[in-house]
């Protein structure tokens, strides 16, 4: 593998009409890590994700992926390079079956996505692979279910399966456990752990127990700027982080360990 860091931002800035949502962020995500971006509400986490995937255009700064400058690329091109994001609200194709959802993602590697003269039967050869991916997130029973009919947690699982189908190098997850019951949270934690094999993950998460269980490295953002960085231990000890973000929770958590 080429370099130590998969993703790097240099002096990344995003301004909205005089309001600086992201302020000179230098982020380095090490290959193979599960890296968390945490911080108080409105710190700019989602905005950073939007900048990385070009759903927003940076005001200033640089984004490097495998040492290559991708600041000027468009969303789809970035995805093709191997950076795939999931959304804060679950993103699926509602009137397609779970199997078809995953297949759409797999299709990209076929190079047949513009082949309008072929029958869609030519896609059947992807079925097994799609099925395997569904299996890996526990959705095998729902392969032929239309996605709208899936429950929230399952939609998230499907989204993850689709994301993995892209064989991304870097996965961006925005609050993957938001709105889930405890059981589901545990399932998703396992899923992410599994997905992380051989990949790098950058995630935003407010559930500190998830963060503490999963993440190798944590960057704390406040008011758009990096406050500190380190592993969970280091970060949760930091009095400034406690004050700005964790409150007394960090100590409680530790107690629970």
């Amino acid at each position: 593998m080429s370099s130590e860091f998969v993703l790097e931002t240099r002096n990344l800035v995003k301004e909205f009409k005089g309001f600086t949502a992201v302020d000179n962020v230098d982020l380095k995500v090490r290959r193979g890590h599960i890296h968390a971006l945490i911080g108080p509400n409105g710190a700019g986490k989602t905005t950073v994700f939007n900048l990385l995937t070009k759903f927003l255009i940076p005001t200033r700064g640089q984004i490097l992926f495998n040492d290559q400058d991708i600041t000027s690329l468009k969303s789809a091109a970035i995805a093709r390079m191997g950076i795939i994001r999931s959304f804060q609200i679950s993103a699926v194709f509602p009137h397609m079956t779970a199997l078809e959802n995953v297949r759409v993602a797999l299709q990209r590697f076929e190079g047949s996505s513009f082949h309008f003269w072929k029958s869609e039967k030519s896609l059947n050869k992807l079925n097994d692979k799609a099925y395997a991916l569904l299996e890996s997130v526990g959705l095998q029973e729902f392969a032929n279910t239309v996605t709208v009919e899936l429950s929230y947690g399952r939609k998230r699982a499907l989204e993850l399966a689709t994301t993995l189908a892209m064989e991304p190098e870097l996965v961006l997850l925005d609050e993957p456990t938001q709105g889930m019951g405890h059981e589901d949270v545990d399932r998703v934690v396992e899923l992410i752990r599994k997905a992380a094999e051989g990949r790098t993950i950058l995630m935003v998460e407010h559930n500190l127990s998830v963060v503490s269980k999963l993440c190798d490295r944590i960057t704390v953002l406040t008011r758009g700027a990096v406050l500190t960085e380190g592993n969970y231990q280091e970060v949760s000890q930091n009095p400034v982080v406690k004050e700005a973000y964790m409150g007394s929770e960090a100590t409680t958590l530790e107690g629970a360990h």
Binding site: S75, A77, F93, N124, Y131
Partner: protein, 331 residues
């Protein structure tokens, strides 16, 4: 490469379901084609040709609205471009080959479609509809002012010519089968597209565009291709229509025409393959029948009432409602 037959039941069921519905559709198409082949012996062929031309137009339009979720309000421009190009070629150069004229006309609309598409494809929702409308209005103005179109009077007496040089299209029956063939080609193409790997991506884009983007699909390009194909087919419809009626007129370029095709498609069932065909047949027959009946001066009122009733009671369109009914009761 041999596709290994899958071992697991879920994917097997998937493939079987697809096959079963394909077979059922195939039966329906076979019956319809048979009907279409004998129809001219029962119904006045020119009238049938009119239906087929509009049906092709609506099918082309539906490729966009029904399968990509793009409402174009400027499709008249393509219909008219197909028509005027054909008309110009056939009436200016005597003996010009009919099939070449059709081809060139289709190419011209396709090019225009590319131009429209490049300008419009980035806009969303109603803005897309309006920019296509605006562009079509500019095209309308061009045709209104250009001397070769005959302005408001239109182009008349365009020769039908002979197909491949020997099939006399002056004969209504010959002409009919030719139009039918063109229609079947257009319909088949759209069907193929919808059920192709590319069609799957279109469907994904329609369902959730940001997600498709984030999976690495350059959605604008996919949309653009669909737009251009739709424009080309609309042009083909216009071209054939011009040959059938031996005339090209500004009506084809007017925004009412763009509106009419929306109505046909919605009435028949948007996002279904046969919907636009049925819708076109319905609207054309209705207008035709009403215009000639004692209710002649109430045509608009009756059409208006039908639209209202359609929206209130069978919103999925004729074919769409039928499918719903079928799914509910027989499956």
């Amino acid at each position: 490469m041999m596709t290994p037959i899958s071992e697991n039941t879920a994917t097997k069921r998937y493939v079987e379901n697809a096959l079963r519905s394909e077979r059922r559709h195939f039966k329906i198409y076979a019956v319809l084609l048979l009907l279409a082949l004998v129809a001219p012996f029962v119904v006045y062929p020119v009238f049938l040709m009119k239906i087929l031309c509009f049906a092709l137009f609506a099918v082309a339009f539906n490729l966009l609205l029904g399968y990509v979720g793009l409402l174009s309000f400027g499709h008249a421009a393509f219909l008219a471009t197909g028509g005027y190009t054909t008309g110009y070629l056939l009436s200016t150069y005597s003996g010009f080959s009919t099939e070449l004229a059709i081809l060139l006309a289709t190419a011209a609309s396709t090019l225009l479609g590319l131009l429209f598409g490049v300008l419009a494809i980035r806009r969303q929702g109603i803005y897309f509809a309006m920019i296509t409308l605006a562009l079509a209005q500019l095209v309308f103005f061009f045709y209104l002012q250009s001397p070769f179109t005959g302005g408001e009077d239109g182009m008349h007496g365009i020769p039908r010519g002979a197909l491949l040089g020997f099939i006399d299209l002056q004969n209504n029956l010959m002409m009919y089968y030719f139009v039918l063939a063109v229609f079947v080609f257009g319909f088949g193409l759209v069907r193929r597209i919808v059920h192709s790997p590319y069609g799957q991506i279109l469907k994904a884009i329609k369902e959730n565009e940001p997600r498709a983007t984030s999976l690495g699909y350059n959605v604008d390009q996919y949309k653009l291709v669909a737009f251009v194909v739709s424009a080309g087919l609309a042009g083909l419809a216009g071209s054939v229509k011009t040959i059938v009626f031996q005339l090209a007129s500004l009506n084809d370029a007017h925004w009412h025409m763009s509106g009419e095709v929306v109505l046909m498609t919605l009435l028949g069932g948007v996002g279904t393959l046969l919907g636009p065909v049925i819708g076109a047949a319905f609207v054309v027959s209705l207008e035709h029948q009403l215009a000639q009946s004692a209710l002649g001066n109430w045509v608009n009122v009756i059409l208006g009432i039908i639209f209202i009733v359609c929206v209130l009671t069978f919103r999925a369109g004729i074919v769409g409602e039928f499918q719903k009914f079928f799914k509910k009761n027989f499956r």
